[in-house]
Symmetry: C2
Subunit: 131 residues, 2 copies
């Protein structure tokens, strides 16, 4: 397999990472995602990593890249489904997953994206977004 | 990897099959799915096979099994994202994917499930469900 499928769900894209990313798979995923964001006008990218028991620095960097690329294309990235052990390891390794949001599961990730997009749609940066 | 992650999305469950199923992976998927349907009260199961370029008779049987098991648990199964070449091969092999519905992509699969559940919710089998 050299491509990870990207599913479109309304205004969001969903990617489920089930195997460790190696070089080409990661590069393909990055380019497929930005193209898909461009083609569909998606406003959010959800990346489910619940199947991963290890997130190393390479994977952390790829997730960060995806977050930054999507941001440029005006889409927010949320990483969901992280296993507790992975969270522990990430912090112990000093990896911070910069540029991406996180949520407990896909549903909460979608809620988070809805909020962020909803806040964007108000189009009034001065307004307090607490609600 | 010996488990395929199952994502909960509202009343539906979503499974993305990205690698060929071997014995244990398939058995685990079946048992995980029925348990998840039981635990969450899900009314529909979406199985995305857009990453598969081959669906053989084993895979066909597993999909059929999942469809039948879910049906007993009062959930409909929709297989989505089938590649055109896979559809051709399935028919040439004489495999029919009995017991599961199919849809072009996840969004259309969700619409199909919504319709089926909506029709169920009317709870009046005599009423014409054309709308």
């Amino acid at each position: 397999m050299d491509r990870i499928p990207i599913l479109r769900m309304g205004r969001f894209l969903l990617v489920t990472i089930q195997i460790d990313l190696y070089d080409r798979l990661a590069t393909n995923l990055e380019s497929d995602l930005v193209q898909m964001v461009n083609k569909t006008g998606a406003r959010g990218v959800l990346i489910d990593i619940s199947a991963l028991s290890i997130v190393d620095s390479f994977m952390g960097r790829i997730l960060g890249n995806i977050g930054s690329m999507s941001k440029i294309m005006d889409a927010e990235t949320v990483v969901v489904g992280m296993q507790p052990a992975v969270a522990i390891t990430l912090i112990e390794l000093g990896l911070e997953l910069k540029g991406v949001h996180t949520a407990l599961n896909v549903e909460k990730g979608m809620e988070l994206l809805q909020e962020k997009i909803g806040a964007d749609d108000l189009d009034d940066p001065d307004e307090d977004s607490a609600e």
